[in-house]
């Protein structure tokens, strides 16, 4: 039996199929993964993401500490509530985790990290914080939901206290705000507009009920995965891990190289990899033949070399199979994938595959 979120009994009542995810009992789907996927693309869906780990860092040196700990630079964050997506690297430049950091005020930043990496993340953060005047405080008493889709904010707004409602609706993308004992951010993991809402666990079941009553579809982890794949958002443990540099996981854009004297963990090895023109590409693939691309399938680029699918699946929005993959360096846009011994044709495409309900690639 895994850990249960404050909304667990709500999922069971709604007929959810429950699976283990990073030690948590989480809803996989509530009937049809595809319908949940389409609900988010065309209307609104809500995900229980209370398994995500929220860590508050407070202290006089918190900014200085995070400029050392994270590959992106929190010096970019000047406005309260502004968020930044970043990797946390090990000394070798491998990815310990990817996370979102929110700037709350000069002595308080909030991190939202993955559930499956919680223990090692906290250990790494605490170990590196020792040299700084920073308190590390996991907020396990908080629950989180993500409401996502073109109608998500409009439908969820009545659940926000009237005092804060308009400010919440006025939030710009990748900004968050405190709203009484809630924290609301215009972020997500689906490629659609929406909010992620953090709240005390005790309030979570009632808020969940209100969101569902407002016409927002309950969605499970299965739809979350196909949505994030279409949005070409990386999944930790699948697209990158401690043996992968962000440069080979399509996350080069999250590394703040400037100023060049900022000494963030992993910088040295990363500088060397940056100069290496033979490093692997991280790309989107679309399957031109019939079939479904899956994680770990082998990619063959004739005359060049081999690669691997890191996240593959069926795109409900496009109606074709798509994937994220690491492939050998080189200038080419055709490859083949070994699917049960048959070589199927794929095309290298620019990601994201889908954004704000619209297919972005040529099918």
């Amino acid at each position: 039996m895994g850990k249960k979120t404050p909304k667990h009994h709500k999922h069971v009542e709604a007929g959810a199929r429950i699976v283990d995810f990073g030690g948590w009992d989480m809803p996989l789907h509530y009937g049809s993964q595809k319908e949940e996927h389409h609900a988010v693309r065309t209307h609104a869906g809500v995900f229980d993401v209370s398994h995500m780990t929220i860590v508050d860092l407070k202290g006089e040196q918190v900014r200085e500490f995070l400029r050392h700990l994270l590959a992106n630079d929190v010096a970019k964050l000047k406005e309260s509530g502004k968020a930044l997506y970043t990797c946390m690297l090990n000394e070798g430049g491998g990815v310990i985790d990817d996370l979102i950091v929110y700037f709350m005020n000069d002595s308080w930043f909030r991190l939202v990290v993955n559930a499956a990496t919680r223990d090692k993340d906290l250990a790494w953060i605490r170990k590196n914080a020792e040299a700084f005047d920073v308190d590390v405080n996991e907020r396990a008493e908080l629950a989180m939901v993500a409401v996502q889709g073109p109608k998500a904010r409009e439908l969820a707004a009545p659940c926000i206290d009237a005092e804060w409602r308009q400010s919440a609706l006025d939030l710009r993308p990748f900004h968050g705000m405190e709203a009484g004992d809630m924290f609301i951010a215009r972020t997500g993991y689906t490629g659609e507009d929406g909010w992620e809402i953090v709240m005390p666990a005790a309030q979570a079941p009632a808020i969940w009920d209100r969101l569902i009553a407002a016409g927002i579809a309950p969605c499970g982890l299965a739809a979350r995965d196909t949505l994030r794949l279409e949005a070409a958002m990386n999944l930790y443990g699948s697209d990158m891990d401690e043996t992968t540099s962000p440069l080979e996981a399509g996350l080069g854009w999250t590394i703040a190289w400037e100023p060049d004297d900022r000494d963030f963990i992993g910088r040295g090895p990363l500088e060397n990899m940056r100069a290496d023109s033979s490093r692997r590409r991280f790309v989107g693939l679309m399957l031109e033949d019939k079939g479904v691309l899956r994680n770990h399938q082998r990619i063959v680029v004739e005359g060049i070399g081999k690669g691997e699918i890191t996240s593959g699946g069926f795109s409900p929005t496009i109606g074709r199979s798509i994937a994220l993959a690491r492939i050998p360096a080189g200038d080419y846009d055709r490859a083949q994938v070994d699917v049960r011994g048959k070589l199927l044709n794929v095309r290298v495409v620019k990601t994201p595959f889908v954004r704000n309900g619209q297919v972005q690639i040529e099918v």
Binding site: S32, H37, T226, V292, F314, P316
Partner: protein, 131 residues
């Protein structure tokens, strides 16, 4: 609770088979299997006339979630394939025991019913898996 017709035989791999009057057998996946795998998006069918061995894989059904082999429950020859599944694999979700059938085999020998499950035995298997 998944649907479980009383006139079929079942396998531990969550397939069903029906003995037809002409001696052939029709094979598909059970309601339980389609519910567990979720929305089907692709089916890889065998060739007509292909010979299959009991326990060997003869087709693949892929849902959004995962790929799953369909095994031959008996030795035999493929005498029909449900070609409509190529364009409409979701028929398996909608009607797993009817229009969602997958393959028809002509068994090469006697069918060993002892190796297959009666509806009651299959129900017991499902109950065990649930527990």
């Amino acid at each position: 609770m998944s649907e479980l017709p009383g006139d079929l035989l079942y396998t531990t791999e969550h397939e069903w088979l029906r003995r037809e009057d002409d001696g052939s057998i029709t094979i598909g996946v059970t309601d339980h299997a389609q519910a567990a795998l979720g929305d089907f998006v692709y089916v890889e069918l065998p060739e007509m006339g292909q010979e299959v061995d009991s326990g060997g894989d003869m087709a693949v059904v892929e849902s959004v979630k995962a790929a799953s082999d369909v095994y031959a429950p008996v030795d035999g020859t493929v005498v029909a394939i449900n070609e409509s599944l190529a364009d409409d694999p979701e028929v398996i979700n909608a009607d797993p025991y009817g229009d969602g059938w997958i393959v028809k085999l002509q068994p090469s020998g006697e069918i060993d019913e002892g190796a297959l499950l009666t509806p009651d035995a299959y129900q017991s298997l499902l109950d065990e898996e649930e527990a």
